[in-house]
Subunit: 335 residues, 2 copies
């Protein structure tokens, strides 16, 4: 039985949900891949690093297990793991320190999986090439649309296709706010309700201003369309200036307002847009429920395929599944 040592950088909601899911699927992993996954290190900014070569039980993580003088880089540089799961909070403007974490692990010949879209938005090409050069896996399914297969879908099941456009609704917070405003709820009350329900951040400006959507679009374009673009290059308009009148005008015209992302190549240059857009009432974006997402992937060989993520409780398990599906793919590919 092959032991697979996993180092977790970041142990917030996603890290904890992933660890629980991993425990739940241990028998399946053993039977399917002949592997025993062990979490051998957990690093958090506040507590430092907990290391245990025999494996850490996620149900029994206590503060006294952590060495406050150690940090993520201490663990990453040790090389005493086979797979690093980079699950630190995103910095949408830089992709750091996640990109440095990933680069260091790849340079040491370790597989890397991440839920952090920052490095994919800002540093993808460099990290991808490094992983290829090192002969290791670099996977990031959970970075867009949680556990919904988007990258894996394209890379494993749309082989041979050239991706000519990606588009969709990628941000649940803004989609929820717009849906609530259509029901007559004010912008501020919609934000408050979303916070109360747990999926809107304390400071929702990254979502409201379209940065989260822009980062996701950038990530998709870099990976699926093999272009080089960064979030600051996206033509981005958020929903902060959408008024009740705008919503009502749209409804009178038989339309709805949705924050639509679109990426394509024009005159040889990648062009990405995030914009509030009028859509017909009986179009796919119009019927997307409050916290649903979708992506439409246009190809040269077989036209457009659309994948829809429907709301799931608990939402964090959807993201955790994305990380797990990447781990399973590492196990399947690297045997």
């Amino acid at each position: 039985m092959k032991k697979v040592r996993i180092a977790l950088t970041g142990y917030g909601n996603v890290g904890q949900a992933f660890a629980r899911m991993l425990t739940r699927k241990k028998d399946y992993i053993r039977e399917t891949f002949g592997a025993e996954p062990l979490i051998t290190a957990i690093c958090t900014k506040s507590r430092g690093a907990a290391v245990c070569p025999d494996g850490i039980d996620p149900e029994r993580v206590t503060d006294d297990m952590f060495d406050r003088s150690a940090d993520a880089m201490t663990v990453i540089r040790s090389g005493e793991y086979d797979v690093m799961a980079e699950l630190t909070p995103i910095n949408i403007m830089t992709g750091q320190p996640a990109a440095d974490h990933i680069r260091t692990a790849l340079l040491l010949g370790k597989h890397v999986i991440t839920a952090n879209k920052g490095p994919i938005a800002w540093h993808y090409r460099e990290l991808r090439d490094l992983a290829v050069k090192q002969g290791v896996q670099f996977r990031y399914e959970a970075t867009v649309m949680d556990g919904t297969p988007v990258y894996n879908l394209t890379q494993e099941t749309l082989m041979g296709c050239r991706i000519t456009e990606v588009s969709g609704i990628f941000n649940a917070t803004t989609n929820f706010i717009l849906t609530e405003m259509e029901r007559g709820v004010s912008f501020e009350d919609a934000v408050e309700e979303g916070r109360r329900q747990g999926f809107v951040e304390a400071d929702p400006s990254m979502d409201v201003d379209g940065w989260d959507a822009a980062a996701k679009l950038t990530a998709l374009m870099n990976v699926l369309m093999d272009v080089r673009i960064t979030p600051d290059q996206i033509d981005r308009t958020g929903i902060a200036d959408i008024t009740k009148d705008d919503i009502d005008e749209a409804a009178k015209a038989g339309k709805r307002i949705k924050l639509i992302c679109r990426g394509r190549v024009e005159d040889g240059r990648p062009v990405g847009t995030v914009k509030p857009t009028l859509v017909d009432r009986d179009s796919l974006p119009a019927i997307m429920d409050a916290t649903s997402s979708y992506v439409t992937i246009d190809t040269d060989l077989m036209g457009a395929t659309t994948v829809i993520e429907e709301p799931f409780e608990p939402e964090i398990d959807h993201t955790a599944y994305g990380v797990l599906s990447d781990l399973l793919r590492v196990l399947k590919t690297c045997g």
Copy 2:
């Protein structure tokens, strides 16, 4: 450069489109997999078998290349190929002779890819187990929703999940007819228009009576939900009895009529239904364009994922892509 010999059983629209697509992607296949795919045999019911170990150019297939005394089984039993592509016309009631073709090729240790849903609806479990025992690939992506990744999606990118339900609109002919009837076109005129546009069969009864949808649902249930069910066990109602009044009544109530397929397990037994169903105007099935299809795959770990196939011209290339994507997966998996 490794030569990969492909025997085509069936050389109708799908076979020819696949052969053309293969030629178009030869460089990609060479660069990506270090393999040179060659069509070394073509078998058709009317012309017999054409065999050429150095490869047949699909642009130069002439009748005099065929030996009328040979048939598909002659070629399949010869074993002089690496992959058999089973592309014969479907027999929805038996899955033959495709199932016999596939079994024979698997017993000879050959990989098999197919666009024929008959064997997957009627003989899946046996053929799957035989392929596993023989250590070869058995793939069938093009059997449901043409080239849209459904099986590959589930098997490669939803690993670890248990599929608890499949549902969707799987038949383009009936969806088109229902859409046309909503526009005031008669059933008969809708059938005629569909024939004129090329996607409705001369005899549309297999579609209209729901047999095509039932066979697809059966195939999905057998593969994705690991159950044993056959098309005759589906609770099946087609659209032959849908009248203009039914359509109008639905519209008055703010609904549409769609032929919905659904498969799940109840009390330990697989239950599949194909039924005309009233759906809300702003639901996903309601907005499916005339020849669109979709499938919703419910999982235990991450809820429901929906995949939509949008109309593509030429439609036959969508199916051909499904066959190609299976070939690429064989090349990727078997190196």
